[in-house]
C-alpha cells in the first residue's frame, strides 16, 4: 500500500460522507416524497444542496472505482467506514448537534473496525490459473516461485 492508495481510501470516506450530508440537508427542503408524486424527486435535482451532494458523490464514485481495481470489496468497505466518524464529527463541531455517549461508543467501534482491517491483506490472491490468463507477463515470475513442473 502506497501513500497515494491511502489517499484514495480517505477520498472515498470524505466525499461519501460529506456528499450524503449535503443530500440529507437538501431533502429537508424538498419535504416528503409520496409514491403518487415521484416527480418531486426530479425537482429535488434542482436543489443546490442536492446538486452539491451529487457532485461530491461523483468524486466518491471515481475514487471508489479506483480502489476496487486494486483492493477487495471486503477491504474497501470497512476501511472507508471512517466516513461515519467524519459525519459525526461534522455534526458535533460544525452543526453543533449533541453527540450522545452511544454515538461516541459507535465511533469507537467503527474506528477500531477500521484499524482492524487496515493491518490485514488488501487483495485476495488470484488462483494460479486465473493469474496466468489475466497477467501472462507474470508467467516467468510464477514459474520461478513454483519451481520446474
Amino acid at each position: 500500500m502506497t501513500f497515494r492508495k491511502y489517499l484514495v481510501l480517505f477520498g472515498i470516506a470524505l466525499f461519501g460522507s460529506v456528499g450524503d450530508s449535503l443530500l440529507s440537508r437538501g431533502m429537508r427542503d424538498i419535504g416528503t416524497v409520496s409514491l403518487t408524486h415521484l416527480q418531486s424527486l426530479i425537482v429535488a435535482l434542482a436543489n443546490v444542496w442536492v446538486l452539491g451532494g451529487i457532485v461530491l458523490l461523483i468524486g466518491f464514485f471515481a475514487t471508489y472505482m479506483t480502489a476496487l481495481s486494486w483492493a477487495d470489496l471486503t477491504y474497501v468497505l470497512p476501511a472507508t467506514s471512517i466516513g461515519y466518524v467524519i459525519i459525526a464529527l461534522i455534526a458535533k463541531f460544525v452543526l453543533n448537534e449533541q453527540v450522545t455517549t452511544a454515538r461516541w461508543i459507535g465511533i469507537l467501534l467503527i474506528t477500531s473496525g477500521v484499524g482492524f482491517i487496515a493491518g490485514g491483506p488488501v487483495l485476495t490472491p488470484l488462483p494460479d490459473h486465473q493469474l496466468r490468463e489475466s497477467h501472462p507477463e507474470h508467467e516467468a515470475e510464477l514459474a520461478s516461485v513454483r519451481g520446474p513442473s
Binding site: 471486503t74 467506514s81 485476495t124
Partner: protein, 126 residues
C-alpha cells in the same frame, strides 16, 4: 404505513446497493489496477475501458436504484433510522455476497472488522 414505506425503501436500497457493489467490484477486478493502466496507456484508456465494461453499466443501474430508494426513504423516514439501518445491513450483505460471488477470502479479521463497523453504525443512531 409510513413505517412500512421506510423499511421497504431500506430493503430496496440494501439489495440494490449490494448488487451494485458486487457488479462494480467484479468489473474493476477484470479491468485491473487503474493506476497501472493510466501510467501505461493514459487516462482516456482508463475511462474508456471502465465505461465500456458491461458489468459497469449494470452496476451503475443497481446503484441508481439504490440512490433513488435512499432519496425516497429520506423524504419519508428519519435519517437517523434510514442511514444506520441501510448502512449496517449493506456491510453485512456485502460481506456475504463478496464471499459467495467474488470468492474473496473473508477471514476472521475481516469478519470482526465488518461486525464492529456494523454495530458501530447502528449505535450512531442513538
Amino acid at each position: 404505513m409510513k413505517h412500512a414505506y421506510t423499511w421497504g425503501a431500506i430493503f430496496l436500497m440494501v439489495t440494490a446497493s449490494v448488487t451494485g457493489d458486487v457488479l462494480l467490484s467484479k468489473a474493476m477486478k477484470q479491468i485491473g489496477d487503474v493506476g497501472d493502466l493510466w501510467k501505461n496507456h493514459g487516462i482516456f484508456r482508463v475511462v474508456g475501458s471502465v465505461l465500456r465494461h458491461p458489468l459497469f453499466a449494470l452496476g451503475i443501474a443497481a446503484m441508481a436504484i439504490a440512490f433513488f430508494a435512499l432519496l425516497f426513504g429520506l423524504s419519508w423516514g428519519d435519517v437517523s433510522l434510514i442511514a444506520p439501518a441501510s448502512a449496517s445491513l449493506t456491510f453485512v450483505g456485502n460481506m456475504i455476497a463478496a464471499k459467495l460471488f467474488l470468492h474473496e477470502r473473508v477471514d476472521r479479521r475481516r469478519c470482526i472488522a465488518v461486525a464492529l463497523v456494523a454495530c458501530g453504525v447502528v449505535l450512531l443512531a442513538f
